[in-house]
């Protein structure tokens, strides 16, 4: 009989708190976070336009990550928290 040690890690559960989804986008301020990849800004701005014209969103603001491989940095997260009601994060490639 041989006993083996497990090389993997057990993933620890992390509770994530979600805010309630708004029932409507009417009058909401929308943050758009683009990941700096080619055309991701074009795609998100187009989505922003649709949210304004078809869903009544009040305004959109575009934010840029430092690069595609890292999470959004604290500065823009705080700015979005202050100035936006909902946000759309997307990738372009």
């Amino acid at each position: 009989m041989i006993e083996l040690l497990d090389p993997t890690v057990e993933v620890k559960a992390q509770p994530i708190g979600y805010v309630d989804r708004p029932r409507s986008l009417e009058g909401k301020r929308v943050g758009l976070i683009e990941n700096t990849k080619f055309n991701s800004d074009t795609l998100l701005l187009r989505i922003g336009e649709i949210l304004k014209t078809e869903y009544g969103a009040a305004e959109t603001r575009l934010f840029h990550k430092h690069n595609a491989s890292v999470p959004a940095h604290e500065e823009i997260i705080q700015e979005i928290r202050k100035t936006c009601d909902v946000m759309v994060a997307g990738i372009g490639d």
Partner: protein, 345 residues
């Protein structure tokens, strides 16, 4: 020591069952592994004088803590000798460094390997190959140290090909990609000394990297001649628009030719930086740069790398043969920087 090991345990009948069990659990890179038994894991930890619980790195993007125990288990599985453990640990520290930025090279469709360049006395002590067949096969240290790091990425960080590791093509260096610099024969300042360490320190430099590209120059006996060929080969390579790192590995004949003309690594970097730039016109005509051709695009140049310092020059490879390689880094040096860590013993 045994009481301090906290990993889950699995019982199997014999060695053959153990090897098969590891395959079935999805713990291997596709090759058989050495069964990670307690004795072997404890010996591995002791060789690096590490406590099992010690954190070697924390990968923030994956919210994963990499402990010495897990590194040791994976190093056993990879076939490392215990004395390799400090090098594996330093390399794991390197890929967990925020500057290396794990999530990108660990996940990206562009399929990066972890190029590891070992410098200092430990390279010779452990017989990390710096000569013939530099990129393999044939040397246990080169093949198992890199394999251990990749197994840590797989088993601890979750970078499993097809799920979180989405490399479109990958490359053989993703199994193991370890070289040493040939400091004994090299006339140049070793890589680790250029990067701020003392010659007698041992280090590992990790760079997220594509496969090596070999170039030929069997005609020239001047530095400029050899490097002209290199630059012509290299100018359109890798992520041309991304400005990644590059490693240039100069083998024996080219090393002697270039050094014989009195060129040092700094001059090589500067020359390569200046001679690998592409015109905007060429980049646009070959569908690498977006947008219509503009007047002046034929004389507007885009450097292949953002700075000469993003080129790592390493002396290594066999004595004979007028070949060397360049290695494009993954993506962009902005997205993942090469990191050098000291090997602590």
């Amino acid at each position: 020591m045994s009481a301090t090991l906290t990993s889950k345990r699995h019982r199997v009948e014999d060695v053959a069952d153990a090897i098969e069990f590891c395959f079935q659990q999805g713990w291997t890179d596709g090759l058989p592994v050495i069964p990670p038994t307690q004795d072997r894991v404890v010996t591995m930890l002791e060789a690096a004088r590490l406590d099992a619980k010690q954190e070697i790195g924390f990968v923030a993007h994956r919210a994963v803590s990499i402990t010495a125990e897990k590194v040791a288990i994976n190093a056993v599985m990879a076939g490392c000798k215990p004395e390799y453990m400090p090098v594996v640990v330093a390399a794991v520290e390197g890929i967990a460094d925020p500057r290396w930025s794990y999530h990108g090279p660990g996940t990206s469709t562009a399929g990066a390997g972890v190029l590891m360049i070992v410098n200092g006395p430990i390279a010779r002590e452990l017989d990390v190959n710096a000569g013939d067949n530099l990129f393999g096969p044939g040397w246990r240290a080169n093949l198992t140290i890199g394999r251990a790091v990749r197994l840590v990425m797989r088993n601890v960080c979750g970078s499993i090909p097809g799920t979180l590791d989405r490399g479109t093509l990958g490359h053989p260096g993703k199994l193991s990609y370890v070289i040493a610099e040939n400091e004994q024969d090299s006339p140049w300042t070793p890589l680790h000394v250029e990067r701020g360490f003392r010659r007698e320190q041992s280090t590992v430099t990790v760079m997220a990297a594509e496969a090596p590209h070999q170039f030929y120059n069997q005609l020239s006996n001047t530095a400029e001649g050899v490097l002209t060929t290199l630059c012509d080969d290299m100018r359109i390579s890798g992520n041309v628009m991304g400005q990644p790192h590059y490693a240039i590995v100069l083998a024996g004949e080219h090393m002697r030719t270039i050094a014989g003309d009195g060129w040092d690594k700094k001059r090589i970097r500067q020359y390569v930086f200046e001679h690998t730039q592409n015109s905007h016109a060429h980049l646009k005509q070959t569908q690498r740069m977006s947008g219509p051709l503009q007047p002046g695009d034929d004389i507007k140049l885009r450097p292949l790398v953002a700075s000469p310092d993003d080129i790592l020059v390493v002396a290594a490879g066999g004595r004979a043969g007028a070949f060397s390689v360049y290695i494009p880094g993954w993506s962009s040096a902005r997205n993942s920087q090469a990191v050098t860590k000291e090997v602590r013993r």
